[in-house]
């Protein structure tokens, strides 16, 4: 068992598709919350092989995409300072703030570096005691333990030249916000497998109960995604709403308790803005009081930077499945993958970017070759 190729088996995928076609009798709108799942769906062409009644709505689960413009502008301001080594995950470099991105700051002389792990940034701080090393701490609950460990270790090592610009976001409040929306269309959720590996599944029970919505914890390989969809459709077709775990090999109900203990020490819950959506109450983490010294927003006094999101962008409605990407007036005009206005055009897996790419193909294709 290597836990990889086994879950990419084309023959088993064919069986799952056959099962899905057999059990689906009515139209269902299902949101995959996680950008990793969206990636898998598009990368493998899963969406084209599903029964036509199943509509997948690509959710707000890409931390790069939902990081608010204001925070990116703060990152750009910090990264441009001569004493700073600004460290970020690779995804974040291309995300535009108001008019420029981290690549541009780098080209203008900013010391911007890509790291694979937040601990690499801690090592950079150790190796460069005369420089200020700032790590762009973005991510959902999955990434939070890694970022927390970096701050914890910096404190243990007494590193005064390390700080973190934190923009952590949480999945359950986002699901609640989507369900609270008066024009919500989402009928079920595929919950993000790796988020649940860390946090467990208990936080989703109240959501299932309050909104009577099926939530199925789902993995990322093609068979995992198909099994998540299958279990969701079974519930929908039977009029049920339960919390189900289709990714049991990696997710325990209680989650990773060791990691949760660290998170409780390093972070505290806060309101957080989501690009294209706006502020969702209690939907993020910031550094807790005992780690406030490591907060880059405080250290570099960028709290006063305030940025308005583009009024042209309708990505919030796209994320909630209310608008197809090409129904947005800015789609393909002011907003393209090279000049993205909102979250959904930023990432190549974002709903708008995927639509933009695929649209080029579908418009030109006479026959519907993508269906089996």
């Amino acid at each position: 068992m290597k836990y990889l190729d086994e879950f990419r088996n084309p023959e088993l995928a064919r069986r799952l598709f056959a099962e899905l076609h057999a059990i689906t009798t009515r139209p269902w709108a299902i949101m995959e919350v996680c950008g990793g799942q969206t990636h898998s769906i598009i990368r493998n062409g899963i969406d084209q092989l599903l029964p036509p009644q199943i509509e997948l709505i690509h959710g707000p689960g890409c931390p790069v995409c939902v990081t608010p413009l204001e925070l990116i502008d703060k990152a750009l301001a910090i990264a441009a300072r001569p004493e700073v080594i600004f460290c970020s995950f690779g995804d974040m470099l291309r995300v535009p703030g108001s008019g420029r991105d981290l690549f541009r700051v780098k080209s203008e002389g900013g010391d911007v570096r890509i790291v694979y792990s937040p601990l690499d940034a801690v090592r950079l701080a150790q190796a460069n005691p005369t420089r200020e090393v700032v790590f762009f701490g973005i991510g959902f609950e999955t990434t939070a333990p890694a970022n927390a460990m970096a701050v914890y270790q910096a404190k243990q090592l007494g590193l005064r030249n390390f700080s973190m610009l934190v923009s952590h976001v949480l999945v359950p409040p986002a699901i609640a916000a989507i369900m609270e929306s008066p024009d919500n269309r989402v009928q079920a959720f595929l919950a993000a497998g790796h988020v649940c590996s860390v946090m467990g599944t208990w936080a989703y029970e109240p959501l299932v109960a309050r909104y009577r919505v099926p939530i199925v914890v789902t993995g990322f390989e093609p068979l995992d995604v198909l099994e998540g969809i299958r279990r969701t459709v079974v519930q929908l077709e039977h009029g049920e709403a339960r919390l189900d775990n289709a990714y049991a090999r990696a997710v325990r109900p209680e989650g990773n308790v060791t990691a949760q203990r660290m998170l409780a020490d390093v972070f505290e819950v806060t309101d957080r803005g989501w690009r294209g959506i706006g502020v969702i109450p209690q939907s993020g983490w910031r550094l807790s009081a005992s780690y406030r010294d490591f907060d880059a927003e405080v250290r570099f006094a960028v709290q006063d930077i305030h940025t308005q999101e583009s009024t042209l962008c309708h990505s919030g409605e796209v994320l909630r499945g209310l608008l197809k990407p090409n129904q947005c007036p800015a789609f393909g005009r002011e907003c393209t993958p090279r000049t993205p206005l909102g979250a959904t055009m930023v990432s190549s897996e974002g709903a708008c970017a995927a639509y933009y790419q695929y649209g080029r193909f579908v418009q030109l294709e006479e026959s519907d070759v993508t269906r089996i």
Binding site: R14, P63, Y116, R338, L364, V369
Partner: protein
């Protein structure tokens, strides 16, 4: 990971003045410059044209069409598993000529050295260039060296330009793909890019992967002797297979479809891509080519490729179609399809 080129045993044929590193004077046109040429470049790159040490090389070329190409090489780190910047600079330009069906004949070499570059490293790079040139049967006929201040370069930048002779009857160009043609790849993809990433500062990982850096003109000659009417040849370097197929699709105004399950992706390349969130079709190669050939020639060309050591794992990955011109579509292993686009910029490790 010890396959990074070892230059500890390199010794200068005639000791240069006691500098262990490059100093500004090595590019100043004085005695230090002359010593570099006389003791390092000239012996390594020995050719009649170079020995003449004139202001320009004088070449004897046959009548007919010439291919002429130039490319500059910047790579970090300079030495990586399977090669170094020197081998890359020679093979890169040799391959650009070969992709037009030309027989590579002459190269020129321009070097920008950064003050402080260890002379031993320069020696190892020059030696690799000489060995690559010899293996590719090309002469290095002219060269130039400049030195820039420390901090103004990554050790060394190399430009190579090359001239090759195109045999009569060969008409290869990126706009020649036609619907019905077959898409061939000469072997496993992603090796060079993953080898570089595995030793890139801050990203280091252990990988049983070495760069595929190699000169492809011999393989091309073998293919052309099997069938003269090859439509397109391209080496999928930066941007990988995806960029190359997109360029061909756009220039030829055709669609291209390939089967993902037929792509030769080494296990370690697939694993590294999974880990970094990258796609093997976006990873650079330095010793592979894509051939677009008429369907009735595909078997003959493929057979000729497989008989050549650099094409032993050559395979048919897809076809050219009239639909969706300019767009490349992959058929996925589970039977779906997706549009394969070029990367906007450099490929970066993802977390999401």
């Amino acid at each position: 990971m010890s396959r990074v080129s070892d230059f500890s045993n390199w010794t200068c044929p005639v000791p240069l003045r006691s500098y262990p590193t490059i100093v500004m004077g090595h590019g100043g046109g004085g005695k230090l410059s002359a010593e570099l040429v006389e003791h390092l470049f000239a012996p390594a790159f020995r050719s009649d044209a170079l020995d003449a040490l004139g202001d320009a090389a004088v070449l004897e070329v046959p009548a007919g069409r010439l291919a002429y190409s130039t490319d500059s090489f910047v790579v970090r780190p300079l030495f990586f598993p399977g090669g170094n910047i020197g081998a890359l600079a020679v093979n890169g330009t040799v391959n650009d000529l070969a992709m037009m069906g030309a027989t590579p004949r002459f190269l020129t070499v321009g070097m920008i050295l950064e003050e402080g570059l260890p002379v031993a490293q320069l020696g190892a790079i020059v030696e690799a260039m000489a060995a690559a040139a010899q293996a590719a049967d090309v002469q290095i006929v002219a060269g130039d060296t400049k030195v820039v201040d420390k901090g103004h370069g990554d050790g060394i930048y190399i430009n190579t330009s090359g001239i090759g002779v195109i045999p009569a009857g060969v008409q290869i160009a990126p706009d020649q793909a036609r619907p019905g043609d077959v898409v061939l790849i000469s072997g496993e993809i992603g090796l060079h890019g993953i080898a570089i990433l595995s030793v890139r500062e801050g990203l280091e990982f252990g990988a049983p992967v070495a760069s595929d850096c190699a000169a492809l003109h011999g393989l091309v000659a073998a293919m052309l002797s099997a069938h003269r009417a090859i439509h397109v040849l391209r080496d999928p370097t930066r941007g990988g297979l995806a960029a190359t197929l997109n360029e061909i699709a756009r220039m030829s105004r055709v669609g291209i479809e390939y089967e993902e399950s037929r792509l030769p992706v080494p296990v370690a390349v697939a694993a590294a891509c999974d880990m970094l969130g990258m796609d093997p079709v976006h990873i650079a190669n330095e010793g592979k080519l894509v051939a677009i050939v008429p369907a009735d020639a595909a078997d003959a060309v493929l057979e000729a490729m497989r008989r050549h050591p650099l094409g032993a794992q050559a395979t048919n990955i897809g076809r050219v179609v009239a639909q969706h011109p300019g767009v490349v579509v992959a058929r996925t292993a589970i039977g779906g399809s997706r549009v394969v686009d070029m990367q906007v910029g450099e490929q970066l490790p993802r977390i999401c």
